[in-house]
Subunit: 326 residues, 2 copies
């Protein structure tokens, strides 16, 4: 099934089920008013939601209405836990290579994650307010999963079943603020403004055979200002699958229901597929041409991120945002 | 007024008002079921809560009951935003000095913060489960504030009024996991297990003249295994007050209602006052005696953190926890 959160008078919006083709929606307040409420009690509520989803698919729901992605907030408009991996290690290796730094061998076996801000997520069509173009505004196209309660000490083998939903992410970054923050060694904060998510989150079964081994085996299609920018495959060169990332994040903590776990910027060794962030393209330009050519985003620039099934149908709806001056 | 969250059938517990002397409580579900709900609509709900608090103080509430801190969850059992500063820069300077590293001059003017995990906060009397003593289990005694909605771009001058509540923190740390994580430069994750909070959060006016310039001017009294460990004054040597920290965290983001902002480990230049974490004491031992003497915590060890008003009355109740094997 596919779920979305529509803007309402509540900060957490209103949970709706969305048809597979993203054309119709139906409110499910009688089952769960919000996606967080559904996740808090997923094992008992998911079957009830699935019943309504099946009826919606068959045209058997009388209160359905047109689904408008412009009305969608992030599936979780605010979350209690947002942790982003950097699972495409070839991307990390590349960035380091460009600045002449060696990447520790352990990066291939020990996942890299950062704790992100989760109180103010952006909807798929929300503008992206930034105080200054000088900050180096960049997109980062990713896949994320949402879990139920995952106890501390969960191993990879036990992690698969905790993955309840999948969605797309634009993990906005302010590149020129990153070096200063990394030098302080406490991680990202000012360099990571609000993160945006696809209009719809889907259960893994909606991905069919494209969901395997806790990876999404499909290209992420990225456009910048209407032009193709990259379409790396999320299932290729993902060094750590989501189950392995869950093992990593629960070594010393419980991950509670509604944990949003990101893959990190998708990146393939096959450079002909382009990139899912400007920083990577600039790095390649640096290596190949001696200097970066593509500039970071300016106010008014737009980004579109989408993923299609093998029949060309949009799975999650598009993240389609414009950068604006705060 | 003083607020607490009691364990209930809900993950978010039940909001109660607590009398100034911490002896009595009363449920306020008719005003707000949870602290997050109160914070989401603070300007209209706080006056109603204050009315009940006043009646409770005067013995004019008929459904009051004894307040038992053992029943208290963290005031926000889960939060959308937990960001911890490192506002006592002398502590950072000291730690760097011990390892022979220079601290950049900018640390005195540019605050250091990290984004923490907020989906699984511990109550003041909850055991602290850790998988291994080898991780280097340490306390960190701090003060934290909770804000309402703070818009991006808020300056220090405009930040004071956004501070709605104050509480105590034990920001548990796993010291031996920190060097590896800092080397990866993405910040803390596995090295920061669940954070614990005092039984009660209070409005700044409860602190009287001890709340001034967005600092709490009182000693934080720390005991380890029943013995005095330190009592540094939270108002002394705090390089960045909470209003300045709010300016820092809203440069590129909104901080939404219920943001929990910590001071970082309290630390005074006057070393006779002891420390609020073991790492600092070990650093002083390193400098003075050539090697650290005090060991990190073992399973079964206990920590007590409390703060008293000038008349010796506990303001927030005590954080009183035992470390256990997960």
């Amino acid at each position: 099934m596919k779920l979305a959160t529509l803007r309402s008078s509540s900060r957490d919006g209103q949970l709706v089920l969305v048809s597979r083709d993203l054309s119709k929606a139906v409110a499910v307040a009688h089952i769960a008013p919000t996606l967080q409420a559904a996740l808090d009690d997923w094992s008992s509520l998911a079957p009830k939601l699935a019943e309504v989803a099946a009826a919606l698919e068959q045209g058997g729901v009388k209160d359905s209405f047109s689904f408008d992605p412009a009305r969608a907030m992030a599936p979780l408009p605010r979350a209690y836990h947002w942790v982003d991996g950097s699972a495409y290690v070839n991307h990390v290796e590349l960035v380091r290579k460009a600045r002449g730094a060696q990447m520790p061998e352990s990066f291939w076996t020990d996942p890299l994650v950062y704790q992100g801000g989760s109180d103010d997520f952006l909807g798929a069509r929300d503008d992206v307010p930034v105080p200054s173009e000088e900050y180096g505004i960049d997109l980062e196209g990713e896949v994320a999963v949402i879990t139920d309660d995952v106890p501390m000490g969960t191993k990879r083998e036990g992690a698969f079943d905790h993955i309840k939903l999948v969605m797309l992410v634009n993990d906005w970054s302010l590149r020129n603020l990153i070096p200063g923050e990394l030098a302080k060694s406490f991680g990202f904060y000012q360099s990571k403004p609000a993160t945006a998510f696809s209009p719809v989150a889907v259960t893994p079964d909606e991905l069919g055979t494209s969901w395997a081994e806790a990876k999404v085996h499909l290209p992420l299609v990225v456009h910048v200002n209407g032009k193709p920018f990259g379409q790396p495959n999320a299932g290729v060169d993902m060094t750590f699958d989501f189950a392995r990332l869950i093992e990593h994040i629960t070594l010393t903590r419980n991950a509670r229901a509604g944990t949003v776990l990101g893959s990190g910027t998708i990146s393939n060794y096959d450079r002909s597929l382009g990139s899912a962030c400007i920083a990577e393209r600039r790095t390649l330009e640096q290596i190949e041409q001696g200097k970066p050519v593509t500039s970071f985003l300016k106010f008014g620039d737009s980004v579109r991120i989408e993923m299609f099934d093998p029949h060309g149908r949009s799975i999650f709806g598009a993240i389609e945002q414009k950068v604006v001056r705060r």
